[in-house]
Symmetry: C2
Subunit: 191 residues, 2 copies
Amino acid sequence: MKKQLSVKPLLFPMPATLVAAAHDGEQGLITVAWIGMVSGTPPTIGMAIRATRNTLRLIEASGEFTVNVPRVGMEAPVDFCGIVSGKGVDKFAAAGLTAVPASIVSAPLVAECPFNIECRLVGVQEMGEYRLVLGEIVETHADEEILNTAGKVDIGLLDPLLYVPGTQEYRGVGPKVADAYVVGVPLKERM
Amino acid sequence: MKKQLSVKPLLFPMPATLVAAAHDGEQGLITVAWIGMVSGTPPTIGMAIRATRNTLRLIEASGEFTVNVPRVGMEAPVDFCGIVSGKGVDKFAAAGLTAVPASIVSAPLVAECPFNIECRLVGVQEMGEYRLVLGEIVETHADEEILNTAGKVDIGLLDPLLYVPGTQEYRGVGPKVADAYVVGVPLKERM
């Protein structure tokens, strides 16, 4: 039996990412769970950030940002970056995180996050009290320790943190269930 | 040591959702992992779909769609809906899934998915070979069995399917790691 829950911003699960930007000597760092891929040609990320957030101001001023995927164990700094405003605060230091230079953009990478994405801002759209920020991916980085023998990110080794809206909790990923583009083939062949 | 992986549409993890639409007696069903929240005021979902996909045509024609969150165990039909085109095919029947009426929109809900979102189309944006589809959430539904005593979705009971890009696999969610808006508070108090 289905029950109506009314209008709520729920989707299960969400990634818990750390988004960084820098401008004019100032660094910003913010937790973003409202994020996803919005195109593959070229690879482009979309994310929603409250219009009042300091890191958004740095993204718009510099035209660049990074998306950093934290791992399980980083839930305290990830949570901290979501509940504290960055105005006049060195959030990297306060969270115990390390800013390292990216390869292309001016925004720093979060060293402790095993996977990092560099983005160039390609669009900003007003969405009520939020802005939808679109960034073209210009480089990705992974810690060597999380790559499998084929050079791809092993998500078991990455062990990324998830955000669960509603009950407001952080979780890890579970075990592998099936291979994509494989497990559905028998249904296709039966057509 | 970080290694550059070049430009790839990677983010870890992604939700694996089933998006449905209907128009003029035709139903469409497609797997979408490139999806996320793009605003909270009002709650709005953004998702990227290849411009050639049949379900996109039905979304644009009807101005409505549903997002359905499948659970672990549904990986075969989820994968099937991603690899097969819906033109001239009853994908619900072929995937062994059940279309049930939504409460507000014309698009059906997927009965087997324990969580469902009804959306009204509010924007479509060309993004290379993809379109970024924006939908305002007008209702959400959950199976009663996945609600906790506070009436919120218990993600352990929902047991949603995740999609992992790169290694192309489906996974479930792992155990709870921490409470959001709680675990970061000690870092804030230390400031």
